[in-house]
């Protein structure tokens, strides 16, 4: 599937219809396995964020993380690019290999 740059790919459980972040496990709500893919706007709202002053071996300090809520209440833990966002900030989230990255969304970004 071709994602537009401002889209984020999620999974939807075929049994209970819950949306969740794609994973190798069953639906976190009902345990069902079959799921469909859905795309949602990549803009979400910051629920919490922090600066990791003492990162693990292999990471540079300071390292910033944010918990971002996108469509349908789905949450993403993302590496922050740029300054630490405050609670309620809008960020654009994108997948990057096994993880996610987020940066402050430009004014008027598409989101929920």
């Amino acid at each position: 599937m071709n994602l537009r740059p401002d889209d984020l790919e999620l999974s939807r459980c075929s049994a209970c219809q819950a949306a969740f972040l794609p994973s190798d496990g069953p639906c976190p709500r009902c345990g069902g396995l079959p799921r469909a893919s859905l795309t949602v706007p990549s803009t979400g709202t910051v629920l919490a964020s922090t600066v990791v002053v003492y990162p693990a071996t292999g990471w540079e300090s300071p390292h910033r993380l944010a918990l971002v809520e996108v469509s349908e209440g789905v949450r993403v833990l993302a590496i922050v690019e740029g300054d630490l966002p405050s609670r309620g900030s809008k960020m654009n989230v994108r997948a990057d290999g096994a993880t996610y990255r987020a940066r402050i969304a430009p004014e008027g970004a598409r989101g929920d």
């Binding site: 972040l21 919490a48 922090t50 002053v53 003492y54 693990a56 993380l65 918990l67 609670r87 290999g97």
Partner: protein, 377 residues
């Protein structure tokens, strides 16, 4: 079939010159001497890293040899920071099966000989790989959970300071604790940021240490009344929220049900405050107080040794120090000491009849609740 704690061997926690095996032998010897060296037919060892001077160490057979227990059976368990809770549960279940009569349970960890960043990396191995891949650390995720707790109940970050002050005040009366000095709110609030709102004194320390217990079939002042384990999703983003841990709620419900009691019966609790505000989250999840009420309990001193329900009279993980594989055994040991009237200077004002110990793995991915009380004799 009943199982009770017959003897406790509490080694000193802190920065110790000894290696892993010597720490484990020290605590084990104290526990075995406490029962007059009666024979033990099961050895259960809990360690997360099994870190010796030359890297990973074969702790289980090495310890069996050092203690002369080669004729017993044995196994080693690892459940990250909840390892000690798992070790106690494994031993209780084995004794309850009737296959064994007396077990030595040892939790041990050697950590202070390694760089902090290496400990941080290995501790984050208890997180979901996708979240560890984002560079998440235990303090970072604890900081995010604490922010959610503060927001949910309209609190201020100062609650974290109050929790640390309580823990360190308790530890100052516990000769086994890593930290022997109380701290003030000002000192906690001025300590350096680790992952805000968490500062250095809100986070458990990297410590060396070991604790051992002898469990045997029969009844006594510290009989196991109930056990419960509980999981939650390993990936934090899959949880409904982070201001409460389902793994504790599930473990507690199973433990209360198996003991046939309610949270109202608990006279003393030892909970896994790897980060000081988690002591508040835990007593809410255990039903000792209601959701959002714990900060008031700490503020009004209801968790002190003479309060409604004393919490972490040992100093908890924050005050006692956190040799990860040992902490869960120390939590059960502390409750047993209180029930047996052997807690000395850190005894609660009134000797408890029923106590609860809770251990946590990762950020609440699988938790263990053990309820003990006075029965028989």
């Amino acid at each position: 079939m009943s199982v009770h704690v017959a003897s406790i061997g509490m080694g000193r926690y802190g920065k110790r010159p000894e290696g892993l095996i010597d720490l484990a032998v020290e605590a084990s010897t104290l526990a075995l001497e406490g029962i007059g060296r009666k024979p033990v037919d099961l050895l259960v060892v809990g360690t997360m890293f099994a870190q010796g001077a030359q890297g990973r160490e074969p702790l289980l057979p090495h310890l069996a040899g050092r203690l002369g227990l080669e004729s017993s059976s044995g196994f080693r368990v690892d459940s990250s920071s909840g390892t000690g809770g798992m070790a106690v549960h494994a031993a209780v279940l084995a004794l309850e099966s009737g296959r064994f009569d007396r077990a030595l349970v040892v939790g041990a960890e050697k950590m202070t000989n390694r760089p902090t960043a290496d400990n941080t990396k290995d501790l984050s191995s208890s997180l979901h790989p996708s979240e560890a891949a984002a560079g998440a650390t235990m303090p970072a995720l604890a900081a995010i959970a604490t922010q959610r707790y503060i927001e949910r109940f309209q609190l201020t970050p100062a609650i974290c300071d109050a929790a640390t002050v309580h823990a360190r005040a308790m530890a100052a009366s516990n000769p086994s604790a890593h930290f022997q000095k109380a701290v003030t709110v000002e000192e906690v609030a001025a300590s350096r940021p680790v992952a805000l709102p968490l500062r250095l004194l809100h986070c458990s320390a990297i410590s060396d240490g070991a604790t051992a217990l002898v469990l045997e079939r029969g009844e006594g002042p510290a009989t196991v009344l109930g056990l419960g384990q509980g999981f939650d999703t390993l990936r934090l983003v899959d949880r409904k929220d982070l201001y409460s841990f389902a793994a504790t709620r599930r473990a507690a419900q199973r433990a209360y049900d198996s003991a046939g009691i309610t949270p109202k019966t608990i006279d003393v609790a030892e909970v896994h405050d790897a980060f000081s505000p988690f002591a508040m989250v835990h007593i809410e999840d255990l039903g000792i107080c209601g959701p959002g009420e714990a900060p008031t309990w700490f503020e009004r001193g209801w968790v002190r040794p003479d309060g409604r329900v004393p919490v972490n009279p040992s100093g908890g993980v924050i005050g006692r120090g956190h040799p990860v594989g040992a902490s869960g055994v120390a939590e059960v040991a502390e409750v047993a000491l209180q029930l047996r009237g052997e807690a000395g200077r850190h005894a609660t004002a009134k000797r408890p009849r029923v106590g609860l110990a809770q251990a946590m793995s990762g950020i609440g991915s699988h938790n263990y609740v053990t309820i003990m009380g006075s029965t028989g004799r």
